[in-house]
């Protein structure tokens, strides 16, 4: 920016303080929340390939948000609808598949996968009949886009609270990696702890989706990669996931804004473009 006129510099500073800084802050918090939710879901399902959207959260949020967009509602309403859709998906998953959670997480997993498939079909239906001029906005929501993420203080508060709550469970989560019977024999109340994981991961995911749409890949790749790199204990894994997830999303968002300037890309495209090669490289490590 050297050599620019004073008025330009003022404008640049204003843009930095009022537009860029909040967006970077929101991006970091969203990435942290998604990676944290992914780590919790992987422990809940004892599967390092689990991710925040496994229970149909993105589908439920996407469906209601798209219906709102098709009806021409403004963003705050769409955001509220997305949040409601997330809660709807979580409630349905819990009601349909949650009864055996103390012993077996498979029914919950199946219910979530089925819900995600159902919501996916309905989303495709909405997309195919929606007015053409609304389609780009819808696609950006489905891919995830931080242009909407206006409430950085809320996201940061949520991130810090969720991280503190998850860390309070850390030792119990280590034990929960064992079979449910073994974990119970060591004194862990399996069902309440699993429901706490479900609620915590669900809340983190629902909040992010309502702020920035369904940003993909961060919630799967970050915790999975960290586990592969040797972060097995939750006391380290959880804060590391929040840090790495936040950093990755800040980087992806910076690229999303600049790669085809002055136009922007949905940030979800970038998280996948950065994440896929990283993941493949990790897979090749011995």
């Amino acid at each position: 920016m050297a050599g620019t006129l004073p008025a330009d510099r003022e404008l640049a500073q204003q843009i930095l303080a009022e537009l860029r800084a909040p967006r970077v802050a929101a991006a970091f918090a969203c990435g942290g929340l998604l990676a944290l939710a992914g780590a919790l879901m992987q422990t809940l399902f004892r599967n390092p390939l689990a991710e925040p959207y496994l229970l149909g959260v993105s589908g439920g949020a996407g469906l209601l948000a798209l219906l709102g967009m098709a009806a021409g509602l403004a963003w705050p309403w769409v955001s509220g609808l997305a949040f409601a859709g997330s809660l709807l998906a979580l409630t349905l998953a819990a009601a349909l598949g949650g009864r055996m959670l103390a012993r077996d997480h498979t029914p919950l997993l199946l219910a979530g996968v089925m819900l995600a498939a159902g919501f996916g079909a309905l989303i495709a239906l909405v997309l195919s009949v929606a007015p053409a001029e609304r389609l780009p906005g819808m696609l950006f929501f489905l891919m995830g886009d931080l242009a909407w993420a206006g409430n950085a203080p809320l996201l940061w508060t949520a991130l810090l609270l969720a991280l503190a709550a998850a860390l309070a469970l850390a030792r119990r989560l280590d034990v929960l990696q064992l079979s449910p019977l073994k974990a119970a024999s060591l004194g862990v109340a399996v069902a309440p702890t699993r429901w706490a994981l479900f609620g915590l991961a669900g809340a983190c995911t629902a909040l992010v989706v309502a702020q920035a749409g369904s940003i993909g890949f961060v919630g799967l790749m970050v915790p999975h990669a960290l586990r592969r790199l040797g972060f097995a204990g939750h006391r380290l894994l959880l804060p590391a996931a929040a840090l790495a997830g936040g950093s990755l999303l800040v980087l992806a968002d910076a690229l999303a804004r600049t790669v085809i300037e002055p136009r922007e890309l949905p940030v979800g495209v970038l998280t996948a473009l950065i994440g896929v090669p990283l993941m493949l490289w990790l897979l090749r490590r011995p």
């Binding site: 599967n47 034990v175 024999s185 862990v188």
Partner: protein, 243 residues
Amino acid sequence: MSLVARQLALRAGSRTLVDALDLTLEPGEVLGILGANGAGKSTLLAVLAGLALPVRGEVALDGEPLAALPPLVRAQHIGLLPQADEGGFLGSVAAFVALGHYPFDATPDLAPLLAAWELADLAQRPLATLSGGERQRARLAQLAVQRPRIALLDEPLTHLDPAHQARLLAWARSEADAGRSVVLTLHDPNWAACHCDRLLFLHGDGRWQLGTPATLLTPDALEGLYGPGTAALWRQGDRGQPV
């Protein structure tokens, strides 16, 4: 005192597996449970561990019903080695073994235990890279870290080579000598004859027999338990010989 089961009834669906079982686990004894596949051995262990409820009857630890004990307190006294594998665990062997100490506050000194189960060289390896027998030793070491007064082991001999079966036997005997109780399910009558103080036969239809190996282990009783032709598996002559 110790662990007392009164009038236990266990069912799988509509089938009665065990009926009216009375069992008092004495401190210092090794009890072997024998029975055909599906006879209710694992179910009984889960009930004795306080992790499943019987259809009838109750289990009490020092006079206190297990259902009334807080999970952590129960885990400070009763340990279980289930059959299911620990497939979801991505950490090291040492981290896996250390989880056995969860019911207690202090950090355990793992080195002697890892050495005792010949895991010292494997301690930093990811658990998933171990062989079946090595993993079984890690699971046993995890139970040994918990050091339960009542140890319930479901088919602990699985995957173990003879040397490590002997190691398991020595551990069970030393636990018993220290005044703790060891219960294990197994399928080898020879092993049961040599190393168990008492045996419990589960017939899988509600009937059960409890007694010393000398009184219970006869060819007829084995065929009654497992079916015709199975007595040939038992070498009566080896009875009482150490492994």
